[in-house]
Symmetry: C2
Subunit: 251 residues, 2 copies
Amino acid sequence: MKTFEAKRTRGLAEALPRRVAGDASPCGACSIRHLSICAALAPDELSEMDAIATAVDLAPGDPLFDEAEPAEHLFNVTAGTIKVYKLLADGRRQVTGFLSAGDFLGLAHETTYAYSAEAVTPASLCRFPRRKLENLLQRYPKLESRLLGMAGHELAAAQEQMVLLGRKTAKEKIGSFLLALERQAAGRGQPAGPVSVPMSRADIGDYLGLTTETVSRTFTQLKSSGVIRLLQGGRVELLDRDALARLAEGQ
Amino acid sequence: MKTFEAKRTRGLAEALPRRVAGDASPCGACSIRHLSICAALAPDELSEMDAIATAVDLAPGDPLFDEAEPAEHLFNVTAGTIKVYKLLADGRRQVTGFLSAGDFLGLAHETTYAYSAEAVTPASLCRFPRRKLENLLQRYPKLESRLLGMAGHELAAAQEQMVLLGRKTAKEKIGSFLLALERQAAGRGQPAGPVSVPMSRADIGDYLGLTTETVSRTFTQLKSSGVIRLLQGGRVELLDRDALARLAEGQ
DNA sequence: CGGGAAGTTGAAGAGCGTCAAAAGTAGTGG
DNA sequence: CCACTACTTTTGACGCTCTTCAACTTCCCG
């Protein structure tokens, strides 16, 4: 069984927090606001968010928080990719999601985080003290409503992922994964073209319930059969979307 | 690959709806209110729920709704067990959850259901027209807040299930499953003692990402090693909780 | 009681994991 | 600019867990 060892180059404390409020009208100028929880607020209400937000920047591999740590902050991804994962006692790892611009992190019903979060690429986030954000949620029901909507989306995605983990073959898993990455990129308004796959084979494996080796072999297979093309810089071109879609749906 | 064929004894139309409001003060008398979304409302506000709720009773095997059907209703389980599942094109099935008293069903962000739901045991639910409940949510933010809390719980459970599906062995899966069933029963205030396992081996397999045969074999193994005892009526006695806990955590 | 579904058990096989090594890639410093 | 190192990815050989296919047993419910 494969095990996972954390190797941290630098801790949360060094994560370069800077007040969002330091800028002129940071939330007002936020280019991904329409994707995030903040879309629920009117422009003149955004100052309330400004007032409690702190910007955080992470380098690849930087931890954001660890499972079982007191959940004192909630986060909003503004740039880059964050991976979220849980560990078993012996080190086996399950990545439960890759988050990017607009995604919300830290919705914990407990007082501690239910999972660990770590940067995959250089990433930026808005950090909110839990208590202050909860206060804001009470005063602006439409914020809470927006959050409920996002939670619904996440739940649907989680169920889709359960189908993948429980019932799909390696080939089907990789196919679904690539299509999902492309869909997400499109949803964030990124131009069509090769899909950016910034995470390592190990991360992909831990997300899909496979080993690094199987992920690699499956990519090679899909490449050999002309369904995808592997470009450099972790980019993948989807040559035969129909074949991938058939794989993803189990036909 | 195993396939799944729906065999329906009776459809939704025959599902015996009766107005909750037919009773004197149905919601006020609801014995599982503290578990459900309704716990968010004060006693005098409950009549608002009464006004839009319809009771539904299902026999084992009865469908509640199907994936891709228009999501016109939301539900609250009041008794029995409901299974929720998704199908792949070729019939492979993933059960994403077993729901019981207090659980909420139908939180869809789309206009269609994202999964199918079907009774495992005789079951009762409260049915709410989607639009009317959404109206209520707007007027009572604390209802929405409660729903957000429940969604948070569900998300945490979904992530736990991803760890199980992606990274646990058959033995670990069954161990985790039995402990989770016991924990849920305790959380609903049911007396300690043998765990009730009302679902079939096939349902358990589709929930844990295993085949019927593997589920059966694993139960037999755990029985032989003295960790559990199989009683009649689908009840299981947990003889060695420590061993099960060690299995569940991957040690 | 009898018939059908659900559950159990057995034997054989496949898909993916494990272990190992080679090839590719990136970062570092002389 | 290139060598040196360390890590990631790929490829290969082999083994094991779980699936598949099949037969048998048990449990219900009419």
